[in-house]
Symmetry: C2
Subunit: 267 residues, 2 copies
Amino acid sequence: MAVIKVGFLQTKPVFGDLCGNLDRVIKRLGRSDTAGLELLVLPELFSTGYQFTSKKELRTLAEDLKSGYSVQRLSALAKERNLHIVAGLAERCGKKLYNSPVLIGPKGLISVYRKAHLFWNEKSIFNPGDIPLEVVNIGKARIGMMICYDWIYPEVARALALKGVDILCHPSNLVLPNCPQAMITRCLENRVFAITANRVGTEDRGAGDALTFIGKSQIVTPRGEVLLRAASRRTAFAMANINVADARDKKITPKNHIFRDMRQDIF
Amino acid sequence: MAVIKVGFLQTKPVFGDLCGNLDRVIKRLGRSDTAGLELLVLPELFSTGYQFTSKKELRTLAEDLKSGYSVQRLSALAKERNLHIVAGLAERCGKKLYNSPVLIGPKGLISVYRKAHLFWNEKSIFNPGDIPLEVVNIGKARIGMMICYDWIYPEVARALALKGVDILCHPSNLVLPNCPQAMITRCLENRVFAITANRVGTEDRGAGDALTFIGKSQIVTPRGEVLLRAASRRTAFAMANINVADARDKKITPKNHIFRDMRQDIF
């Protein structure tokens, strides 16, 4: 079974500065040791920043996925480096506005998921997602996208696991402290890998409370080991080799298969 | 809404010594400050010990719940102290043998659940449970029983939460390290309390590997706070006041209700 080199970039976006935020991602990768990197996860809304003060403001910064600035630059990056990238974008689709992680490969946009479980004030500016959870085979591994607050619903990771996911790709803008530990539970209960890419920094755009993001981006194994975890306040790039076979083995003990043992009849 | 005083007893059973194990529970409570205690959780198989070497041995020690020794003594204890007790027993029912947590009140046996997700060698000696998960109103709170390895299935706590549980009562004989942290996730994702009562000590009955139990019994709040956690190697009694209202409030933020927001349509 394949070994795949995966990584995350923990960023500190400048609100509204699409060009600068993309430049900083590419610059950071350029000065990091990225040799062999095959799958990279970026945070939620990494190119725009998080705290939109109105739908109107969001509409100005959101992009059509066919022609959008971030998709174009990430596609160029993915092509140049022969890489798959999962990244969170502000998506505009006709009159609708979504908080959308996308999967981009060397040939461009492959897949999109739209945040269905909107958190707090996101409910006032984004439309709720309308796309079922999906697992995509990128060659060496089957990946699935979930985003930020989806962590609190075990049904999300479970649905992806039952569809055969090996690696949960989890762009985030976390402000609450609980997710990094909870993602360990998600990995254990499904025997899958998870890459959470979070951001750092504080945004205070005058529309409410200042938000401080907790960092702690991480890669967790199907056995609940934290392979890598970034710090809380600094940007970071990190990568690791993971063996996809570990996510295909659903045995907790020689006699316990996590899915075959499940007793739906008692729930 | 009611405040209820709940506790756990972390024990170190002597294998096969039903009388002694009950004596030790009662003695320990007698010399602890238990004033006001209303709900007590004991470990899985607390009266028999864990590592049965054969069905035959299990049959000898297992008890009929109507007339069994442990049920009788726990019923007397519950009556004397005006207490509800959740405890894990080896149950014999006709030809079947179950790993069963029971709920006992001042008037005797109230409810039983039979372990459905059997762990490792339990599969060779116990019958799998055949009773749906149930929530019982004990006056001040609605409690639900799950047992040990059930922790790994988010569906168990979720099913109980959707049935209105306030407090997950979770007798355990944990040997793997992950459960205490995972139960925090179970509380967060359902906004419920959880009381895990685990045991300590090592059993080596010559039938396989020695098993060392990890202790760390705990009480966790709907916000994922660990109110109390016992040590790994010592017996312990601990109790805390909890406000049941905290488990009835399913709001994560003013705009996020954990159940109403759930997007079944995308799973």
